[in-house]
């Protein structure tokens, strides 16, 4: 379609029982860009991610993926989207090969191309040796890799990762971050997290959410030595005076 963005969200608003979980959120991610979505717990990150992935339809606003509207052309838009929710969406009773084959077919990859796609994504995510193993028997880190593999198996334009390093040990965190950095070279990525060093080491752009609203949106290069990302994050998201002064 020749669009100069992979994903564009405009005015996303969503409320639950009168409480605004997302309030007029707009963001744009360009091809090859990694966007970090920052916020404290309950800031509306997961709701925003679910809306960007088409799992929840916003009350107001729309999401466009490579020119296709998620509400008006959902099938075309979802074909260009890979999503890893906070909890990896894996079937523990299946083997890695079976699961990835299923995900490939679910993303409408043609029957002949399913096996090569599974092999490619296994190589990319370091899963070649565990293809025959049941997902149930894999470590949390490997399950997360399987979760990332399903999100990229159909070569989407945009990959949405919701807190991909939560619950992993330090070695696994380093491995997953390395993998995300590699993905960022060939895809656009939106990464939700509340770990600030993660954003600094992976992302090109930062959007900070507070109480469902975008309170800061800037390239990572804009953070100077005078005001670090940590100081800005605490200033924007925290009301507690003690935390601010400590």
């Amino acid at each position: 379609m020749g669009e100069d963005y992979s994903i564009q969200a405009s005015g996303l608003t969503r409320s639950y029982g009168g409480r605004l979980a997302a309030n007029n959120i707009s963001l744009v991610v360009k091809p090859g860009e990694v966007l970090g979505l920052l916020g404290v717990n309950g800031a509306g990150k997961s709701t925003t991610m679910d809306m960007l992935a088409g799992i929840q339809i916003p009350d107001k606003g729309d999401v466009s993926i490579s020119g296709y509207s998620l509400t008006k052309q959902p099938r075309q838009a979802r074909r260009r989207l890979g999503y890893l929710p906070e909890q990896p969406p894996v079937y523990p009773e299946l083997t890695v090969n079976e699961y990835l084959g299923y995900c490939a077919r679910l993303r409408r990859i043609k029957a002949k191309k399913v096996a090569p796609a599974v092999e490619y994504v296994k190589q990319r995510c370091g899963l070649v040796d565990v293809g025959q193993r049941l997902i149930r028997n894999l470590s949390k880190g490997y399950q997360q890799r399987v979760g990332i593999a399903q999100a990229i198996i159909h070569e989407p334009d945009i990959i949405i990762l919701d807190e991909p390093t939560v619950g992993l040990d330090p070695v696994q965190i380093i491995e997953i971050r390395k993998l995300i950095r590699e993905l960022g070279q060939s895809h656009s990525v939106i990464l939700s997290t509340h770990i600030l060093p993660e954003v600094l080491s992976i992302c090109d752009h930062v959007t900070i959410l507070r109480q469902g609203k975008v309170v800061h949106n800037a390239p990572i290069s804009s953070f100077s030595k005078n005001e670090s990302l940590e100081q800005l994050f605490i200033k924007l998201t925290c009301n507690d005076e003690e935390v601010l002064t400590s």
């Binding site: 992935a53 989207l81 969406p89 299923y102 995900c103």
Partner: protein, 245 residues
Amino acid sequence: MINTIAGRELRSIFVSPLAWTTLAILQFLFAYLLFSRIELFMQYLPRLRTMDAAPGITEIVAMGLFSIAGLVLLVITPLFCSRALAEERRSGTLKLTLSSPVSLTDIVLGKFIGLLSFFLIIIFLLACMAFSLALGGPIDFLQILGGTLGLVLLTSACIAIGLFMSSLTNQPTVAAISTFASLFFLWIIKWDDENVLGITTYLSIQEHFSSILSGRLASVDVIFFILVSFFFLSLTIWRLDLERN
């Protein structure tokens, strides 16, 4: 796409010990039941020979077996259907399907066909048992075929209700109990006083199922089960759509 989702559903059922245990236990129970019905038939055979228009081996053995099998299916369908959506919601895999380029109709029909395929195996084995009676004497093939269709229709309705209950919660146990309660209520709903509540006879799944087993394959019974299945599958799609919006 429906095939892909149905295939995954069936695969997940068959890798669990629940499926194999259920198949093994049901085969044992149905075989025991078949032999006890044959024994009963042999006991009454001298008396049946003296009667005009006496019921044959098909009515007494095969339909007797199908009648109890219907009740057994009513009990076990909730166990399998309850996981279908509730467990997926709890484990987060529902998000995988919802973020993929598939429609809600594909998701619900895929799950329905996957579950129905599993129960078709049970019904096929039951039909084989009933047809095996042909080894001992003349049987009414059409009535057994009609009874088999009755079991398929009954199971479809049970699965559709089970899927809907499963779409309402993220607790498979809650879904299973709600499904069983709904099915049991629809089984016993018939009120004796027709003047007061004639509609209860029409809503009774037992009434329609028994009618099919009796050899009268009336369109009203077939349409009833198709309508119930269609209604609850539509409700399930509507429920998932509501959740998304």
